[in-house]
Symmetry: C2
Subunit: 469 residues, 2 copies
Amino acid sequence: MALVAAAQHRLTPAATDAAIAALKQLLGERLSTAQPVRDQHGRDESWALPSPPDAVVFPDSTEEVAEIVKICAAHGLPVIPYGAGTSLEGHVTALQGGVTIDLMQMNQILKVNAEDLDVVVQPGVRRKQLNEYLRDTGLFFPIDPGADASLGGMVSTRASGTNAVRYGTMRENVLALTVVMADGRIIRTSKRAKKSAAGYDLTRLFIGSEGTLGIITEITLKLYGIPEAMAAATCSFDTLEGAVNTVIQTIQAGIPVARIELLDDVQADAINKYSKLDLPVQNMLMLEFHGTEAGVAEQAEMVQALASDHGGQNFQWATKAEDRARMWEARHAAAYACKALRKGCEIMATDVCVPISRLADCIIETKDDVVKTGLVAPLVGHVGDGNFHLSVVIDRNNPKEVETVEAFSERLVHRALRMDGTCTGEHGIGSGKMKYLTAEHGEAVSVMRAIKKALDPDNLMNPGKIFSL
Amino acid sequence: MALVAAAQHRLTPAATDAAIAALKQLLGERLSTAQPVRDQHGRDESWALPSPPDAVVFPDSTEEVAEIVKICAAHGLPVIPYGAGTSLEGHVTALQGGVTIDLMQMNQILKVNAEDLDVVVQPGVRRKQLNEYLRDTGLFFPIDPGADASLGGMVSTRASGTNAVRYGTMRENVLALTVVMADGRIIRTSKRAKKSAAGYDLTRLFIGSEGTLGIITEITLKLYGIPEAMAAATCSFDTLEGAVNTVIQTIQAGIPVARIELLDDVQADAINKYSKLDLPVQNMLMLEFHGTEAGVAEQAEMVQALASDHGGQNFQWATKAEDRARMWEARHAAAYACKALRKGCEIMATDVCVPISRLADCIIETKDDVVKTGLVAPLVGHVGDGNFHLSVVIDRNNPKEVETVEAFSERLVHRALRMDGTCTGEHGIGSGKMKYLTAEHGEAVSVMRAIKKALDPDNLMNPGKIFSL
């Protein structure tokens, strides 16, 4: 059953054709209207229904993106930026038709400033590509959302992931951006100094703006020295409370863990089946420590002591790079492992984040809800930040099941908001969570809308995402 | 000679009186038009000429601030927020007349969420007051700009200071804000979760907006556990290069120093005279290390080895709290020590920040310029971030000297910009650095202006700061 979202085209077919013809003149073969190309660009990895654009363009420079945006602005045609397509809330669907700008040909690493611990990249560089490139410099870029996302996409969604607990999110790790505005102006948001008090923080405004304010065409990222020592560990718990309370105390004690991930028993079982591992089918923490040899040992001992106090068992170590890699591969395969649980089913990924003092409450209430509702929904979490996901396995062809899952998801969001949390810790709003934005931000949404209208008065930049206008 | 800035009043005296009468009805004795009160609120600690407001009001709640702003909006009267008055670029002068909102009666610490490592405060709380209040909780708020500033002011100017190298600036340490917008709407920018991908980052937009977009009336700040161990050290160098290169290598090695401050020989001499110390009259680094006992020792050994490689001498320790306190008091008194160098003179504080790879170049070129120009200008710097200040001692009554200093300051800014740095690392733009904003940000300033116009269409919020409209 090939479902698509009902697009509400802004232009008539003739007006769209005229705009595309103008773009074709600029781009030649780097514009495609082939159905498979459009289909591929009309969806991400989310639960959102696909909605293909009218055309896809493949620019190779900031200036070319500016020309494209100017042509689209002149014709009133919407513009949607596209990276690796790994977003999770329907960020890239062409809900009002328009042109998708595929930025993956802009995949150059422009300059490593090793002394300054920063790097300038184009938006189509993927995070694994960047770290492979950096390996010989002794530096790395830590942010790791799991998927091998493009860095432009990671900026746009304010991505984070497993080691944000130590290194922060994209919010903390971008120094400067080059952005093409809705009218084709090119701006640079900041110089390369590590801090500045000069004017409004446009860098942070564009981070997480999901392509609704401009197209990001160049990114200056912070880098870090590869730690002298790294060690990973797993630890199992009979109860979820034990695992979560270990996390809470680790954070409160200020132990600078690099990663502290929770997997529940359902998830551990799914990973065993998918990744052919033999994890204990229990609630589990996966940890990583970065530092000097002595520092890593000290951190690990402190966490192990806290875990023991809360019923932690089977503290197992992985110090070899290959063992660590296998463990984190298994963690990153969690979503695919969930999908494999029921043939022909899809995953609806949830993503709330609460103050850590409420994390145990939020997880336990949610697990009760899963059991009562009868869902298959493994839980994983970047719990050091209070952020967790359920991968709800769902048969989209069963309307009753869809209804049940959507009601569950809504209860989860309101539970998190009630606990002073957010409806999305890291996936973003896209089209999937628009309905929760006002519940979370209230009157502040009117300020967001005013900014959107000021910077994109014709609502051409990724329209229908974050909020409707 | 009592210089004041020539205010360009927006309203006629009669219209101003009508607005003030309406405010008086709301506030009674918490509104003052007494000349000394107006004078006191018409200046900060900067070089900018004072410009008193027409009245000063002292609200005690967010709702009252909203009422004040609504009355001012209805009358077209400008509104200037005021905290401790320690800003350094003329942020609080009433250049177009209007009402100053003194927020120092809103000085309550509303809620410590110790488990979540955060605290909710009113904007008039000062940083020392907060840390005294927190002492028994084992937590602290690290950001330390030197002056005992109000937290509202620190948010508004994106302040940082000595230990930003470890803990970040205000940009990284605010979780959420309550803001009164130009039309009196009250918004809250974020929930209390540690991270979120839900909509535009309004928190960061208001941080550093210097009162030009709204009045901050409540702040949720991140807190940190007081480290198990702290140690401070000083080290002297014959050459500036030796000191600066020690800093650069410390940062590049990823050693998590909590503070790493540079003072040149001129500054060391000034501090000796003012604070009655016997620091060696040489270029000096002042360092602080935070961590476990073992971690602090490890960090300190690594830095000491780097310093020795660059000619560092007299590595001296201060592990007792009182010795550390005395050392940092002396550092914080640096500006006053400079002022004491020449009777009847004032200080013009500069504040550039460059990528750390350019720090030695920038400092050395600047010191050459000081010598050539014949200025008395001690240098201090938060050099771990690439940020440094010169306190230029200046006789305002000597027009030739003023001209010389202003030309020097302009050369310094352009030198920093040429090195991909910023015209202000932490003091802000205020009125003092408006002329450099476009040199630094180019076309991006038009985006800042568009946001300002969207959120404050009548330009009533601290007009004449950051940019003219």
